[in-house]
């Protein structure tokens, strides 16, 4: 009896060992890219949209010969929006699935936890959504890149928009976690630089993330002497917020209202004409802002496949796959360090024009989009953006010294 159990155990161990080494890649094998997104829970819609963008890119690339003559295969892991889960997922993708490169990350907290562990994996990572400045700042490293707009870029643009208005008393309503607080800090500092006579109110509002009732905070702002309010609430929270704000008559007050992620198409789609006209909305990518072949093709393919206009999250994920195509072909290999090196300083054509991964901090110089909500779109069922402003990605970016990144 004794021998049998030990033998069984050894068999199991050997099986485990073989299982683990099965990921080694050969030239004829497909190139494997690991995607790490939120695929469950209340923010899973972001992971879903990223997958849509990636599916389109991978489909196009595979049907036109692949990368380096090899097909591309995606393997997804759910980060659950938790840093600890994401770190495990990255290790699984790198060591067990044997992926060549990584894309993903929706949440700043996840990015801050995961990014310091990336060099150990020796695989490049392109962040497609998470916006915390730190990962292309004091936490930067040679393997981590970001193709989407970060908080610092977007808030510089926001401050420029705000400085054009008559409002002097500014406050904020933002989710009570790093994103909300950081948005307000960056916005306030930039606005103060541009327009020193503004008053940043000490009475700020940070409702709990995932709070369902924003009415107390809406009332607080309406009762204060704020003339301008920066709102960084996003996703399902933003949908709740706007509906409750409508009920309170918030938008009828003489307020400059700025939503830092208000032109996200999933929010606009959910709200329809409940999104008020005449408020400032921003997004990291507005699908009607760019007139180029790649964007036209992407928007059409997305509308055909899913029936809604593409979100910024789909755009970033789509572009990241093309970034890898270009970098791997430039490097002539899928070797992790070589691809990471090729990405540094690389310039590529994306849906939002010509984009460069800046050498000093690996942040892509992409443009935040700001506009004012206008009439409903006749076909897409969402608000249009009028007075659209496409800020120059490089101009709104921090200098490399300011980022604190030392590469």
């Amino acid at each position: 009896m004794k021998n049998v159990s030990i033998k069984n155990f050894l068999v199991a161990m050997t099986a485990a060992a073989t299982l683990g080494t099965a990921g080694t890649s050969y030239a004829e094998d497909p190139i494997r890219i690991g995607g790490m997104y939120i695929l469950s829970g209340s923010a899973a819609t972001y992971g879903e949209f990223a997958q849509r963008g990636i599916d389109l890119a991978v489909g196009e690339i595979n049907s036109s010969g692949g990368i380096l003559g090899r097909q591309v295969e995606m393997i997804y892991e759910d980060t659950q929006g938790k840093a600890s889960v994401a770190i495990q997922a990255a290790r699984k993708l790198a060591y067990s699935e044997g992926v060549d490169a990584l894309v993903g990350l929706d949440s700043s907290g996840v990015a801050q936890g995961l990014v310091p562990t990336i060099p150990a994996l020796q695989k490049p990572l392109i962040i497609t959504h998470a916006a915390t400045p730190d990962v292309t700042g004091n936490l930067c490293n040679a393997f981590t890149y970001r193709i989407s707009v970060n908080v610092a870029q977007n808030m510089k643009a926001a401050a420029l928009v705000a400085s054009e208005t008559d409002a002097t008393n500014w406050t904020t309503i933002g989710p009570d976690y790093a994103f909300g607080h950081q948005s307000w800090e960056f916005f306030g500092n930039y606005l103060k630089d541009i327009k020193p006579d503004v008053n940043l109110m000490s009475e700020t509002n940070f409702p709990r993330f995932g709070a369902e009732d924003f009415t107390p905070f809406i009332d607080r702002v309406m009762d204060s002497d704020a003339e301008g309010v920066l709102i960084s609430v996003w996703g399902g929270d933003l949908v709740n917020f706007i509906r409750q704000a409508n009920n309170r008559g918030f938008f009828e007050k003489d307020l400059e209202v700025m939503f830092t992620v208000g032109a996200a198409t999933e929010v606009l789609t959910a709200l329809g004409d409940e999104m008020p006209e005449g408020v400032h909305l921003s997004t990291r990518y507005w699908y009607e802002a760019y007139d180029n072949d790649m964007n036209a093709r992407f928007v059409k393919a997305y509308l055909d496949a899913y029936g809604n206009p593409p979100s910024y999250n789909a755009q970033g994920a789509y572009a990241a796959i093309y970034a890898y195509k270009q970098a791997m072909e430039a490097a002539g290999t899928t070797d992790g360090p070589a691809v990471a090196k090729a990405l540094s300083g690389m310039t590529m054509e994306s849906q939002n024009g010509t984009v460069t991964f800046r050498k000093g901090d690996n942040q892509a110089m992409v443009s935040p989009n700001w506009g004012v909500s206008g009439p409903m779109h006749p076909e897409h069922g969402i608000r249009t953006l009028t007075n659209l402003q496409i800020f120059d990605g490089e101009e709104v970016a921090r200098t490399i010294e300011e980022t604190g990144c030392k590469l």
Binding site: S5, A16, Q88, S96, S108, Q112
Partner: protein, 315 residues
């Protein structure tokens, strides 16, 4: 014969665990590190639940405090690893003493709800006290320094860290096992079965429950101290009530009536999750079904079911 077989299996498992970095791929080094840490976490919970009969819904508080203590020390003080671990244990012991002192007076559901409330209070503090805890993002970007005791170990190497975790978990498990087997542990079991009788025997039930709660919390703090360097982050989700649910699930899955049950449960939980998420994202659905089946039909857990079956075969 029975003990011999069990000892042989145990020896083989330990030998296999030591050999993991040489026989399995890198990925499994991480998986087994996680299993060991969560296994001890679940075992520390089981001292409170399986042995003493108190269903705590706030055990993550001690796990998380241990992790935060470790992260804060590594960031600000850079003390040796072993010293930091002791601080993690001390911090959670203190917290367990406070929470336990207030909670062990209550029974059943009321105890579960009060520990849930305290656990979520600690979570809310970690989430909102941004200047110390860095809010929802948690503490990240710390580096591992020396081990302590003059040993020259590169803890940043996952294989080395795995062996360190294995050693510490093994020692802690033996200590915990001795506690469970001692007369103190027997008294705890008696309390679970019939608190009135223990109390009539002249023993102060409340004190016994408090001591068990503090010991469980202290060991949970140790596992928290081990998880922070492994995950490279200490974040509020380590303190959330859903983290408190994990040792409960693991203990039930493995078997709450046995010392090794929670370890088996942790291994089954982590391995199942790894395998199932490869095929489907509906891991939670599968977990729900497994949990329901275990609760309804196999209340003794995997280990208990296997042992029952083994006894049956032996007859």
């Amino acid at each position: 014969m029975k003990t011999k077989v069990l000892m042989a299996i145990l020896a083989a498992v330990i030998a296999g665990l030591i050999a993991v970095p040489w026989i399995a791929s890198y990925f499994y080094v991480f998986i087994f590190t996680e299993i060991l840490i969560l296994g001890l976490f679940a075992a520390s919970f089981n001292l409170i639940f399986g042995y003493t009969g108190m269903l705590s819904f706030g055990h993550a508080a001690f796990f998380g405090i241990g992790a935060y203590a470790m992260a804060l020390i590594l960031i600000h003080l850079e003390w040796p690893f072993l010293v930091s671990l002791l601080v993690s244990m001390g911090a959670s012991a203190l917290l367990a003493l406070v929470i336990g002192f207030l909670s062990v007076r209550l029974n059943e559901v009321y105890f579960a709800m009060l520990t849930l409330a305290f656990g979520m209070m600690v979570f809310a503090i970690a989430y909102q006290w941004r200047s110390v805890t860095n809010g929802s993002d948690g503490l990240a970007g710390f580096t591992l320094g020396s081990f302590g005791l003059g040993l020259d170990l590169t803890l940043a190497n996952p294989s080395v860290y795995y062996h360190v975790v294995l050693g510490i978990v093994a020692i802690a498990s033996i200590v915990l096992y001795l506690i469970c087997r001692s007369s103190f542990g027997m008294t705890l079991k008696a309390i679970r079965q019939n608190p009135e009788r223990v109390s009539f025997a002249g023993l102060n039930v409340r004190t016994y429950r408090l001591v068990a709660f503090v010991i469980g919390g202290t060991f949970a703090g140790l596992t928290g101290g081990l998880i922070a360097p492994f995950l490279r982050v200490a974040s509020p989700e380590l303190l959330h009530w859903s983290m408190s649910a994990e040792p409960i699930l693991m203990a039930i899955l493995g078997g709450t009536g046995y010392f090794l049950g929670p370890f088996i449960g942790a291994a089954a939980f982590v391995l199942l999750e790894t395998v199932i998420t490869t095929y489907t994202q509906a891991w939670m659905l599968v977990l729900g079904i497994i949990l329901a089946v275990m609760v309804i039909f196999f209340r003794k857990g995997l280990l208990g079911t296997v042992i029952d079956w083994w006894m049956e075969v032996k007859k």
